[in-house]
Symmetry: C2
Amino acid sequence: MTFNQTLDAIRVYEAGKPIELVVREFGIEPKDIIKLASNENPFGCSPKVQEAVSAIVSKMALYPDDSMYKLKDGLAKRFGIDPHEVVIGAGSDQVIEFAVHAKTGPGKKILINSITFAMYEIYAHHVGAEVIRTASRAHDLDEFYALYLEHKPSIIFLCTPNNPTGDSADAADVKAFLSKIDRETLVIVDGAYMEYARYKDSAKALEPKELIEAYDNVLYLGTFSKAYGLGGMRVGYGIAQRDIITALYKLRPPFNITTLSLEAASAALEDEAFVQRCIAKNFEEMDRYEAFAEAHGIRAIESYTNFVTLCLKEGTSSTEVADALLRQGMIVRNLAGYGLNAIRVTVGKPEENDRFFALAAELV
Amino acid sequence: MTFNQTLDAIRVYEAGKPIELVVREFGIEPKDIIKLASNENPFGCSPKVQEAVSAIVSKMALYPDDSMYKLKDGLAKRFGIDPHEVVIGAGSDQVIEFAVHAKTGPGKKILINSITFAMYEIYAHHVGAEVIRTASRAHDLDEFYALYLEHKPSIIFLCTPNNPTGDSADAADVKAFLSKIDRETLVIVDGAYMEYARYKDSAKALEPKELIEAYDNVLYLGTFSKAYGLGGMRVGYGIAQRDIITALYKLRPPFNITTLSLEAASAALEDEAFVQRCIAKNFEEMDRYEAFAEAHGIRAIESYTNFVTLCLKEGTSSTEVADALLRQGMIVRNLAGYGLNAIRVTVGKPEENDRFFALAAELV
C-alpha cells in the first residue's frame, strides 16, 4: 500500500533507552541499571501527588473531565493568567504538534536552532514544511533574526533553556528579538526547563504572563515532565493569547490527558515546595559534574537545566563512551546524532552521580 | 494571527458531559449524579488492574517504555498475531488520527456511514480530506460498495458494532465486502465494541488475525476504553500487516501512552474473566432496557454493545428529554446532533438503570 509522500521524510524520534530495554538487551538486572538519559526528576514526584493518584485508581474507567477545569485553573493561578489562555497537551510535545498543524505546512518554513529538541523538525516533516536551521550551536538571536528576514518562516522555535545542550538565552535578548518579529509569525518559546533556569539565574527567566501580554504571536510551552517529576504521565501546556489557544484547541483530540494524569498534574501544582527542593538539590549535584569535567579536562556546557552536556576530547568518541557506559548499566544520551561529540547526562541522585563519575572517569 | 485554512472546517468533538461539569453547572452533588453517557464500563476495571497501577505510582516520573514491549506482546498473544502487527494509540482515536494523516489529505476522500463515530470526520477535516457518507442509518454494505466505486476513497471506515447506534454488521457480509475492495484503499474496521458483539452473537464477530491475514489493506481497531474498563487511561490499538503498522509508526509521537496506562492495559489483558463477567452482566441489564422500550412503545435499536439507542416518539424531543434527565443528575447522550430523535444510554449498574427507568418513564 502507498502512503502520503510526507511520510518519506519522517524519521522516528530516538528516545532515551528505557530501563526495560536494557534489561532485555544486555541481561542486566533492573536494580543495577541507572538511567540518566531522559532528564526525568531523579527524586520523582511529590509524595502528595502519589497519594492523590492512588486515591483515584478506582476511577480509571471514567473518561477525564475534558474541560480540564481544575488543571487549567491551577495553571492560571500559578502564572497569573486566564484559564482561556491555556491549552493542555499530552506532554508539551503535543502542543508543538497542534501548533505545527495549525500554522505551517507545504511551501512554508519553520526556523529552529542548529541543535535543539528533535520534535520540532519531526512535526514539521509530518506536515511537509521546510526546516531552516541556524549555524550557531547556542541560540544566536542575531542569526535567528537574519534568517527570519531571509526566509519569513511561519513558526520560529526558541528553546530556552535549550535541549539537548542546557544553555539558555538571556530573557532581555529574547524580548528584544520578539519586538522585531512581525505579528503573523508564531514564535514558540519552549520553556520545558524554565523552572531550573528561573532558580539559577533570574536573567534567564521568561515569564509567560509577561510574554503573552506583550506579544500576541507568542506561544509559551511548559511541562510537568521535568521539574514536576511527571515524565511518565504526559502533561504539558501552552500559554498564549486566546485566539492562538482557540486555534490549537481545534486540533486537540478529545480526552488527550488521562484521568490519573490530570489529577497528578493538578496535585503537583499544589506542592511547589517539593519542586523547589528538587531544583536546589539538582544544582548542588550539578556543581559536582562541573568539577568532574574540570578534573578530566573536558568541557561541560553551562547548564540551566537538570542535565549537563559533556563535550568529549578529540579522539574520544561519544558513541563509544555511551556504549561502554550502557554495557555497565549506565544509560546516558549520546549526542552524535546531533552532530556533537558529546554525551548528555541527567543530573541524578547523589549515589547515581557517584556511579557515573566512577564509570566515566575510566572512559573520558 | 491567521492559521491554516483547514482549521475553518473543523468542529470540535462534543464529549459526554463529565460529572464534574454537571456538579459545576447545576450544583448537584457528585453522589447524586449518574453518568450513562460515555459507554464506560460501569463496573470499572479489574481490581487486579487497580493493584498493578497502585504498585507503580512511585514511577510516575519515569517515561514509559516507548517500545511498549509488554503491552504489544500481550496483545499479540491475545489475538495470535505478531507484535510487529500492532500499533498502540492514546485511545483508538489516535490510531485513527495516524491513519488519516498517513493515507488521506486534500483532494482525497474518506467514506463513512451516515451516522457513526464523529472522530472519523473530524480527523478528515484536520487534513482537508472530503467526507462521503452513506444515506442508510445502518451500515449498508451495498451502498458502501456503490459509493466506493463512484468516489474511490482513500479510506473506508466500517464501525462495527456501530457507535452511536449499537447495531452491528454481519461478519460474513464485511468479509464479502472486503474481498471486493482494491488493495490500495485502506479499510479501517473499528471494533471498539467488538468484545460485546463477540459475546452476544458469533455471527457478528470479526477476528483481527483472520482479517489481516486475508486482507493486506485492513486496519483493525480495538480499545481498552470500553469492555476493559479503562476509558480514563487512553489506550487503544491498531492491528494490520506490517507495512501499514510501519507507516502509522512514523506518525506516532514518542511516549504517547502514560507509564501507568501501559501497566493498566497490560494487567487488564491478564484478567479476561473480569471482562467476560462485566459483559454478561451488561446483556442481562440490556434485556431490561429492551423491556422498558417495549413497555413505553419506543424503539430500542438492537445493540451489540454496552449502550442502547432509544428512538423517541414523534412529538417527544430527545433534546428536551436529555435536558430534563440532566437537571435531575442523569447524564445520557442526546443524538439530535447526529440527526436522530434519540438518546443513547450506557447500560449501567442495576441500580443506575433502575434510576434511569424511573426518571425516563415520566419523559418518554
